[in-house]
């Protein structure tokens, strides 16, 4: 398995505050990863380090096997920054020319064609585009590089729900044939679960969970059963969340084998429940998470 993005012991400190700490992961080539976490979790910091805009304080990171920001890797990386910065006084066509002049390979007809497709006039000022049009232009600029990896920082934040769906559809169509790796950050999980096959859950500068979504769904279950028997259940590795009524307990658990105890009803857990439980359960303690490592090795397998 080849790796598109890998980090080991990555950390970034601003003054006294660690924006990112102890980050280690390997993202397989071709995966579509959702980088999820609340605002201020360190998502932008991680993406900026990955594209070479920021330098880490410690640890190492490789993108497409190379140093971020190096001359040989820059042309292979597509990046759409948060809020999609564009030169406001440039027309749409001039923005496309900007891409063509600042990249060795740039698919000018593709970018123009996409603008035509979305009925965005080429002579309109970039500063006067709507949020959706801005997003389409920024995405078109990134696509036209034909990147091997595409990183998008909160691309959906400025879009209304309908435009989000449309944007994700266009994004998926655009990379479907290329086999490019995609990392997409959002503070809203619901945006990502439809399209992502990997989840990277980040909170307070640390990864809480990094896994293949299928693995996540396979290894996490919701158990409903008698409250008094909520102690040790065979096949349960860890209870992530527990809600109890007088008699009944509902557990969100990570499994390490089949649950055969007939007292428990086993239900499928939703991706959102699992991710939220990782964001919640670890928010109280910021200690190291040994269990994370197990999941990571599974991803890497």
């Amino acid at each position: 398995m080849s790796v598109a993005l890998e980090a080991s012991g990555l950390g970034k400190r601003y003054g006294k505050r660690w924006a990112l700490e102890h980050c280690s992961f390997e993202l397989p080539t071709g995966s579509i990863a959702g980088l999820v976490g609340p605002n201020g979790a360190g998502k932008t910091t991680l993406l900026h380090i990955a594209v070479g805009l920021l330098e880490q304080t410690n640890g190492s990171i490789r993108i497409l096997g190379e140093q971020p920001g190096s001359a040989s890797v820059l042309p292979r990386v597509g990046f759409v920054a948060q809020e999609m910065p564009l030169y406001k006084s440039f027309t749409v066509d001039e923005m496309i020319s900007f891409g063509a002049h600042t990249n060795v390979t740039f698919d000018l007809p593709l970018a123009r064609h996409r603008m035509e497709h979305f009925e965005i006039p080429l002579d309109q000022r970039a500063g006067s585009l709507s949020g959706g049009q801005r997003a389409q232009l920024a995405l078109a600029l990134a696509f036209a590089k034909h990147p091997d990896i595409l990183l998008l920082d909160e691309p959906l934040a400025s879009l209304d729900p309908l435009a989000r769906r449309e944007f994700l559809k266009i994004l998926m169509e655009g990379i479907a044939d290329s086999g490019a790796t995609v990392v997409l950050s959002s503070h809203l999980l619901t945006d990502l679960e439809r399209v992502c096959d990997h989840m990277m859950v980040l909170a307070r500068g640390r990864f809480r969970l990094i896994a293949d979504t299928n693995e996540i769904l396979k290894n996490h279950k919701v158990l409903i059963g008698p409250r008094e028997r909520a102690g040790a259940i065979s096949g349960v590795e860890q209870v992530l969340q527990q809600t109890t009524t007088d008699r009944q307990a509902t557990l969100l658990v990570r499994t390490n084998g089949p649950i055969i105890d007939p007292a428990w009803m086993v239900n499928q857990a939703s991706l959102e429940d699992v991710v939220l439980s990782y964001l919640d359960s670890r928010s109280a303690t910021d200690g190291p998470e040994p269990e994370l490592h197990a999941i990571r090795t599974e991803v890497a397998r």
């Binding site: 070479g52 805009l53 920001g69 002049h101």
Partner: protein, 339 residues
């Protein structure tokens, strides 16, 4: 990338060209007018005649063109205006508006991105500075011809090649400051302050020492003859009246009545404002002259000779260009690791 740099900075470049053009529209006709007056009034011929007294002609000329002195601060400001409008926003605005995240994640490296922008912007500033320097040097020729010294602040630094070096320096100072403070408006302000600081420092503390100054000591009696013979355009760095032992008797030159009165009773007796013309009695020197001769007072002038003008111009040019190159190297290094 050259196209991008031009597209990004074309408004500044067009406005800059317009400003230089407007300057030319004013300087060419007034310069021709001044040159005409300079010749037709006979002032030019007078000034080139050794020993001629051109005071009256010179005053008439000055009165006619005194109004143009408002231009001097403008010419002084021109280089730093390039620094403020061409240099300071070059990196600062990209960071201010967040577009650095776009520019630095395309297919070219930051040094190349910066190099191209500098090439376009410095090139444009250079064209503007050369045009202005040439225009101002030509325009001010009649004014400078009758000036005490071509080294004077307000003359030396507006003419020849130094304004060009100031401009290049100002632009790169602006770029460097922008890369450090990362905000356009503070960068513009600091560019102004920084430029003024460096210029004043060089003007008053560095420039006098480019070459070892010459010293001329003459007797106080009949003073000035030697200096006058050297032409009016030497740069007097300091002038003092010294005694026989070389101690300063009167800072700034001339006589100090108190000093003489304390040493020569005849001077004290005469008082500070003697009636009648001093030294009027032929054959007998007046008390002051006698005292000066008695004490052996001499006038010592430390100066830079007039013929060093171009040497000084090129030395100062070199200093500012070297500073500019240093700033460029710093900015490239800084931009590489900016985040």
């Amino acid at each position: 990338m050259t196209w991008v740099a031009w597209r990004q900075h074309r408004m500044q470049i067009i406005w800059g060209a317009a400003a230089v053009g407007a300057m030319a529209l004013f300087l060419v006709p007034t310069g021709l007018g001044m040159a005409h007056t300079f010749t037709s009034s006979g002032l030019g011929r007078c000034l080139s005649t050794v020993g001629a007294d051109c005071g009256q002609l010179s005053d008439a000329f000055d009165n006619k063109y005194r109004g143009y002195s408002f231009l001097i601060p403008l010419f002084m400001m021109a280089p730093v205006l390039f620094g403020m409008f061409f240099g300071a926003p070059l990196i600062a605005r990209e960071i201010d508006s967040g577009t650095y995240r776009l520019a630095w994640t395309q297919g070219i490296t930051r040094p190349r991105w910066l190099g191209t922008k500098l090439f376009v912007v410095v090139g444009a500033a250079l064209a503007g500075a050369v045009s202005l320097a040439y225009l101002v040097t030509w325009w001010s020729r009649p004014l400078v011809a009758q000036s005490a010294s071509r080294f004077r602040p307000g003359i030396f630094d507006l003419r020849g090649v130094v304004p060009i070096a100031y401009t290049i320096f100002a632009v790169l100072l602006g770029v460097a400051i922008g890369s450090v403070v990362k905000k356009t408006l503070p960068a513009v302000g600091l560019t102004l302050v920084g430029f003024a600081g460096v210029r004043l420092l060089v003007e008053f503390y560095v420039r006098p020492h480019y070459l070892a100054a010459k010293t001329l000591t003459v007797s106080l009696v009949g003073k000035g003859g030697a200096l006058r013979r050297m032409g009016g355009s030497i740069w007097v760095i300091r002038e003092n009246t010294i005694d026989r032992l070389g101690h300063i008797a009167s800072p700034g030159g001339g006589f100090d009545f108190g000093y003489l009165a304390a040493r020569c009773p005849a001077v004290a007796a005469q008082g500070p404002f003697p009636k009648g013309p001093v030294g009027a009695v032929p054959g007998t020197p007046d008390p002051i002259t006698a005292c000066v001769q008695h004490l052996g007072l001499r006038d010592m002038t430390v100066f830079q000779p007039a013929h060093r003008f171009w040497t000084f111009q090129w030395i100062e040019f070199g200093i500012f260009i070297a500073l500019a190159i240093g700033l460029a190297v710093f900015t490239i290094w800084r931009t590489k690791r900016l985040s």
